[in-house]
Symmetry: C2
């Protein structure tokens, strides 16, 4: 027996919102476990713990930011979840999705940004989101990695895990979403990539009677893949010794992260313009960043090779 | 005897470009003198010196960036001068100035940004610029100040010098240009002012036979006023003792400076989009900036009062 569309919609919204909340809890628990490992190894650093901050949106809904600061492994780790609804879809969404203007909408998402302490551990970003308005719906999301030092085996591992994840759902996903990621995380004014890429999708809405369930399964598996794709690399690099040189380079490269987020990132621009919770929007900012005028790494140094290392390439060829 | 318009135009361009170059030389010399004073007082810090970097624009013209790094007084001081010309006015300019499209243009300007080491010394920004295209011309510019700690007497001094400067040229300038500055240097997503303001003008083109000479005199006097408005405040505060607390607050507040420049500043946006010399465009960035999640200064601390202190007000009422 077919369900009434309204009931089905409400059930779907509850299901996806629960997925996001549950993902936040599991991810934060896993990162705190990493912190305990890191603190045990480091001796001088204490394990970081997540603090929570909840905000409500006057129009309906709200969110919870969980942020860990000055940990043994992560200088900053943030995991945001939000679920908001309203009577009128925001103009920016309506203009990109014809026929949705004036309709009520629902949106939920999870986003996380990890800025590790050790310069050999790559920074990491992921988000997954769901939107429905007036009978239309779509999912978005992705994850990408931003190393300060380029290790072929790390980038290959990361992309291999992402390809396996994509292939479980569709054999065309990885190549398409990998290219979309390379197009998106580009710092145009520097002609540099932000990192080694990953996967990115803006409007996933498979057709067919099982379309919603298929997209939902892809996003659910994506949230589960975050830890599989990243944690082994953190464990591999988090005890590598480093000094002032590597630390300075890390903080300098974080300036590029700031430039990308404030100049190009659409989620950040939307958050700043829509007057959402500014601290949650800017949770993605690194704890500290440098700008050095006309800085060039020494020729043939490990630092000098990074920008070339980040050029888009096929990481899983074989 | 009237001059041919082309000859007059070329003479004007040479005159204003020379003013900018000469301003750069004098300003850098004055800041190096401040550095020598600061180094003599600090003992542990060496006087900073400006390094030069010259760039050429393939289409015509170029510029010189002069940057001082890690000085005794300034953590970073940058003074840029450029003079460029081309056969076709850029689309962004043409759209704002009807009738100029397709015409050759000439643009020259000076801009400076000073990020002091001592958190009690305010950061400072100024620029003056000139544009002509197809018989039309205009000047722009201004200067503003960004304290980390609010001192009434410093803001009053600064605005008093600016008002005296404006009043020498027109009694309506100060009030108008002060309000324009308050409108411009606003961090909308934070609902905060960037600093205590100053003066700002986008399109100054006085009419009448002496219009050009009047505007030129205002800009010339403006460049001369930079030192009068700012140097006494540097000298007043540069030896005030400070510790880690004040330094952290300074670096945190510099995050706001980064947010303004990358999200709102039109000159920065134009520079990033037009593919100019990126290091010269981003010379305005602070050497180092922090973001602390949900940071709030302690109630009733000197830091807690800053945002309220920066609210626009009449600094020269008496």
């Amino acid at each position: 027996m077919a369900q009434a569309p309204g009931l089905q919609l409400a059930e779907r919204q509850a299901q996806i919102a629960a997925l996001m909340r549950d993902g936040q809890a599991r991810l934060c628990a896993a990162f705190e476990e990493l912190e305990a490992q890191g603190a045990a190894e480091a001796e001088t650093q204490q394990a970081g713990r997540f603090l929570s901050s909840t905000w409500e949106r006057p129009g309906g809904g709200g969110g919870t930011s969980r942020v860990l600061t000055e940990g043994a492994v992560f200088e900053r780790a943030g995991v945001n979840v939000s679920a908001v609804s309203g009577e009128q879809v925001p103009p920016g969404i309506a203009s990109e999705h014809p026929g949705t203007a004036g309709n009520p909408y629902f949106a939920t998402g999870i986003s996380l940004v990890l800025h590790p302490r050790n310069p050999y551990v790559p920074a990491f970003h992921a988000n997954f989101r769901y939107f429905d308005v007036g009978g239309d719906w779509w999912f978005g999301g992705g994850m990408d990695m931003t190393p300060t030092y380029g290790f072929e085996e790390d980038a290959t591992f990361f992309h291999r895990v992402l390809k396996d994840y994509c292939d479980r759902h569709s054999l065309v996903y990885y190549e398409t979403l990998k290219q979309a990621c390379d197009r998106y995380f580009y710092i145009k004014h520097r002609q540099e990539m932000r990192g080694v890429g990953g996967i990115f999708f803006d409007t996933l809405q498979p057709g067919g009677p099982e379309g919603w369930e298929q997209a939902m399964a892809f996003v659910q598996d994506g949230i589960d893949t975050i830890l599989a794709a990243y944690v082994p690399l953190v464990q591999r690099r988090m005890t590598t010794p480093y000094g002032r040189r590597e630390r300075n380079w890390q903080i300098y490269r974080r300036g590029r992260y700031v430039e990308f987020n404030l100049v190009y990132d659409r989620g950040t621009a939307f958050g700043l313009q829509s007057g959402g919770d500014i601290e949650a929007v800017l949770m993605s900012m690194p704890p500290v960043a440098r700008w050095d005028f006309c800085y060039q790494p020494e020729p043939d140094s490990p630092e000098a090779g990074l920008v070339a290392f980040l050029q888009p390439r096929d990481w899983v060829a074989n």
